[in-house]
Amino acid sequence: MASPERRSFGELALPQLELLYRVARRLVRDEHEAEDLVQETYLKAYKAFARFELREMGIRPWLLKILNNTFLNRIARQRNTPRRAEQELLEQTEADAALPVELDYEHLDAEVARALEALSPEFRAVMLLWATMELSYQEIADILELPIGTVMSRLHRARRQLAAELKNYAAANRVASAKVAS
């Protein structure tokens, strides 16, 4: 693999722009803020590019890591004090992890997007990286700078919450269908 010194920053990083924007957009829920976040990420990456070692981490995980850190810094500033992950874990409600059987998962994208948006930022970040379908749990842990056990725990909790949201959705659909039938 060519070293980053031989390949320019733009050549390596700009092809990742769309994915980064999409993740950012789901993180911050506002298109202007998402673009701002992506621009800041690219500027930080550009400044740090000399220290970037492609053999340690691919360009995509590295950019996602910068994006996530920039995002967390922003929300920490907004909240004034960073919230501890353990606190977040405690706030999650316990729910049965099984997914409802009656839903058509091939046509549920909007509902899944809505359920992802309902997650707290830390859990949403884990689930968005999971949703890229390209990253192993270990790579997600590297990007988020968390132990792999914490990533697995957050995925587990986030899946439970998604399952609960989808159960509510399925129940609401059942009620609506029953009303139409009657």
Binding site: Y21, L99, Y105, L108, A113, M127, M152
Partner: protein, 293 residues
Amino acid sequence: MNPTDMREQLPEYADGALDAAQSAAVEAYLAAHPEARAEVERWRALRGSAHRSLQSVPVPAGLHERVQAALEAERRGAGRGWLTIYRLGVPGLAAAAVVVALVALWPGGARATPVDAEGFARLYRLCAVDHRHDALGLRGCRCCEAAGKLKTCAGFACQVPDLGRCGRYRVDGACRCSPAKGLRVVHAFFRYEDDPRRVVSVFAVDRAIELRARGVTSTGCRTPCGRHYHTAEADEVHVAAWDEGAGSVVLVSEMSRPDLVRLVEELCATRQNGALLDEGGETGVSVATQAAR
């Protein structure tokens, strides 16, 4: 492993995240439990759905160009300064120190930051004309309202001329894209209602700037009421800049130079008459101070 533990592992199995021994155990369980196999398929389908919902996020037009422009501004900014001076060697450093001292001692000389007109022209093309980059969500806003909103968005004391006083302009968008590294700006662009092809960009800059074109200081002029401004041409557009409060205002348009100059004179005259521009006057720079410049 009991059935509850086994079911807890189904999502991780669906993700291919279990080791060989765990996978084998789950597969043995799945062989005997068709409902668990269906559960695995649902988890896979859910991940597919989450993936599609991520992929369906529309990417705004011009994002690539704007990020490239920001990187280019960063590159150009980083290319100047210490590295360039360092390459001059010891005699060069000594000469640079003398120049810095002279500039610092010259009245008002140390204030202005040199900025290329090309940077403003590029953002005019990219944000105002090609992509109507309304990152601050001001499209459709009345001109007189825009000044106040931009001040709030800017994060620094600035004044944005009210183009509504110079004709039937409407706000077409606003963003914070900057033409140079470290320079904080708000950029509002306006369309003339009687001729929508006529677009005027107004940049409120956080500091006094020295407008440069192709590396040299731009043409200096004076309005009939005595205010200084500079004009330059870059990329077939005209750029005009003048000091306003602690910062600068830059106008960019494809209109002819005389038309742009007329606009500058009108805006400066409006300011001179105290009728402006910025409702709050937060910068606290009096008309007398402006006239004294």
